[in-house]
C-alpha cells in the first residue's frame, strides 16, 4: 500500500482516529506521518517543565522586580532571566545567588525548602548537627506513622535539645 499523502513511498503507519464519531484510517509513510505530527515516542518531545517553571517564576518574581537589574550568578554567569526562560540552573553557586527566588519556587514545586535526605559521606562530620537533626526527623516521622507516641515524644525532646545547642 502506498502512502495516501505523497503517493510515492510505502505506507508503514496505519493510524485510526475517531473524529466526530467517524472512524478515519490514515495510511502514511514515515515522513508524511511525521509531517502530520504522529511521532515516534523515542524521538522525544520538548518537555513543558521549563515553561511551567518560567510561568511560576514570572508570576511570582518578575512582577515584583520589573525595574530592577537582572541578578547574575558570579560563578557561572547565568542571569535570573535566563534561568526563568530555560528552567535550568547553571551551577551550585546559582542556589546562593538566586536563593530568595528559589525558596519560593522550591516551596511551590516540592512543598518544602528543607532537605531531609542523606548527606554525602564527606560532609557527615562537618555538618554533624544538621545531619543528626535529619536522622532524628526521619525517625520521628516513622514513629508517628507507627503510632509509637512514646518514642515520638522522646525524639521530639532530642530534637529540641539539639536545637538548643545551636
Amino acid at each position: 500500500m502506498k502512502c495516501q499523502d505523497c503517493g510515492k513511498k510505502e505506507a508503514t503507519h496505519h493510524i485510526t482516529q475517531v473524529i466526530n464519531d467517524q472512524k478515519v484510517t490514515l495510511n502514511l509513510c514515515e515522513e508524511c506521518a511525521a509531517k502530520r505530527g504522529f511521532r515516534n515516542p523515542l524521538e522525544g518531545v520538548p518537555f513543558p517543565l521549563a515553561e511551567f517553571l518560567a510561568s511560576m517564576l514570572s508570576k511570582a518574581q518578575m512582577k515584583k522586580q520589573p525595574e530592577e537589574a537582572d541578578v547574575v550568578c558570579k560563578a557561572c554567569g547565568l542571569s535570573f532571566s535566563d534561568f526563568a526562560k530555560a528552567g535550568r540552573l547553571g551551577c551550585g553557586g546559582c542556589y546562593v545567588t538566586f536563593k530568595e527566588q528559589l525558596d519560593d519556587l522550591l516551596r511551590k514545586v516540592h512543598g518544602s525548602t528543607r532537605h531531609r535526605g542523606k548527606f554525602p559521606n564527606t560532609k557527615r562530620d562537618v555538618m554533624k548537627p544538621l545531619w543528626e537533626e535529619n536522622k532524628l526527623q526521619e525517625e520521628l516521622r516513622k514513629a508517628i506513622e507507627q503510632e509509637d507516641f512514646e518514642r515520638a515524644a522522646q525524639l521530639r525532646d532530642q530534637l529540641k535539645a539539639l536545637a538548643g545547642k545551636k
Binding site: P41, A75, C76, G92, L105, G117
Partner: protein, 348 residues
C-alpha cells in the same frame, strides 16, 4: 555496537522479583553534580572533559563498579542511541548530547551512570519486579562509593544541588514500570491515575517523560525530591504500587465475572495475531503482548511464560530488532522481520 547485548533482553526484564506479573521493573536514579564546577549545560568542552575524567577515575577506584564498560556517547550512531533508550540504560537527553558525554554500563547491566547529561552524574539502578528497595540499595551503594573520591555539590538546607529545581534535595527519582490491562479495560485507569497524582506521584508512558502509553504499560514515579528522605520516597512508592496492584487485581476479577468470554476471546485473538501475522508494528506487538500477559496472569495462557513474553517485548522494539539481525531496516521491512521473529519465538 551492542549486537551481542541485543541477543538477550535486559536483566530487569527477567520476569523475576516480587509481583513481577504486574510490575515489570523498578528503577532508582540519583542526580549528582561535582562541587564548584558549572553544570553540563553551562560548561565548555574542557570542563565537561574534566568532569568525565573525574568520574572515570572515581569509577576505577570503586570496587563495585570497576568491571563495567564506558561508552562514548558522541561516537554513537542514531541506532545505537535508540537501542540504549529502549534498554532503559540511557535517557533520550543523554543520547542527544553533542560532546563529552558518556554512559557507564555496570557489569550485570542492572546499573548505569550517565555522565554530563542534564547533571554531571546520574546514578541508576534497575531491578526486575517490585523491588524498589533493592534498586535503591544498589544506587545508594554506588553513590557512597563514588562520593569517596568525588565531592558532590551539596548544601545542608537544599541538599544535593541539581540543574533542574525539580530534582533538588535527594536528587532521587524512583519508579516502577507497571502493567494495568484490567484497569484500562474497565476504564478505571483515569480515576486511578488522578488518585495517584494526588498522592504526589506521577504517571507516564513506557519510555518515561513525554511518551505515549503503549501496551497498557505505565511508569509511576515520585514527583517531589525535597523535604522527604530517600527512605520515605521508597516507602511511599512501594505502598502506592501495592495499592495499584490491588486495584488491578480487583478490576481483573470483575472483568472475569462480568465478561469472561469476551476477555478470553481477546486474549486468544492476540495470541493468534502474534502467531500468524506476516507484518507487525512494535505498537501492535506491545498491545498484543499486553493481552497475553493478562492471559498468563489469569491462568488462561499456559504455554507461554513471563520471561518469554518479556523477551519478545524487548527484541521487537525497533532498534533491538535491527541490532538482533545486525542490519538496518526501513519501517516496512522491520514490520515483516518483526512478525517473523515473533512467529519463531512462539513456535518454540
Amino acid at each position: 555496537m551492542f549486537e551481542e547485548m541485543a541477543k538477550k533482553p535486559a536483566v530487569w526484564l527477567s520476569g523475576e522479583g516480587s509481583d513481577s506479573q504486574v510490575v515489570l521493573s523498578s528503577r532508582v536514579r540519583l542526580a549528582r553534580n561535582i562541587a564548584n564546577s558549572p553544570f553540563p549545560s553551562r560548561a565548555d568542552t574542557d570542563k565537561r572533559e574534566s568532569i568525565l575524567s573525574f568520574v572515570k577515575n572515581a569509577v576505577g577506584k570503586s570496587e563495585g563498579l570497576r568491571r563495567g564498560t564506558f561508552v562514548d556517547c558522541a561516537k554513537l550512531d542514531d541506532l545505537d542511541r535508540s537501542f540504549l533508550v529502549e534498554r532503559h540504560l540511557a535517557s533520550i537527553e543523554l543520547t542527544r548530547c553533542r560532546d563529552s558525554c558518556a554512559l557507564f554500563i555496570g557489569e550485570e547491566e542492572n546499573t548505569s551512570l550517565m555522565i554530563n547529561e542534564e547533571d554531571h552524574l546520574r546514578v541508576q539502578a534497575l531491578s526486575s519486579g517490585l523491588e524498589i528497595r533493592k534498586a535503591f540499595e544498589m544506587a545508594d551503594q554506588m553513590d557512597e562509593e563514588l562520593s569517596g573520591s568525588l565531592e558532590f555539590a551539596f548544601d545542608p538546607t537544599f541538599g544535593y544541588l541539581t540543574a533542574c529545581p525539580t530534582n533538588t534535595g535527594t536528587g532521587m527519582r524512583a519508579s516502577v514500570l507497571i502493567h494495568l490491562p484490567g484497569l484500562a479495560l474497565t476504564r478505571e485507569i483515569e480515576k486511578v491515575i488522578s488518585q495517584i497524582n494526588k498522592l504526589g506521584l506521577v504517571v507516564r508512558g513506557f519510555y518515561g517523560e513525554g511518551s505515549d502509553v503503549w501496551g497498557n504499560l505505565f511508569q509511576v514515579s515520585n514527583q517531589t525530591t525535597l523535604g522527604r528522605s530517600e527512605e520515605d520516597i521508597v516507602e511511599s512508592l512501594e505502598r502506592v504500587t501495592r495499592q495499584i496492584i490491588e486495584y488491578e487485581e480487583n478490576a481483573r476479577k470483575r472483568l472475569f465475572s462480568e465478561a469472561e468470554d469476551q476477555i478470553e476471546d481477546k486474549i486468544w485473538r492476540a495470541f493468534g495475531i502474534l502467531k500468524y501475522a506476516r507484518t507487525l508494528t512494535s505498537e501492535e506487538v506491545l498491545n498484543m503482548l499486553s493481552a497475553i500477559r493478562l492471559g498468563i496472569g489469569t491462568g488462561i495462557v499456559k504455554s507461554l511464560s513471563l520471561p518469554q513474553v518479556n523477551e519478545i517485548l524487548a527484541l521487537s522494539q525497533p532498534a533491538h530488532l535491527q541490532k538482533y539481525f545486525k542490519k538496518r531496516m526501513e519501517p516496512g521491512e522491520r514490520d515483516r522481520i518483526r512478525a517473523e521473529l515473533v512467529r519463531s519465538k512462539l513456535g518454540q
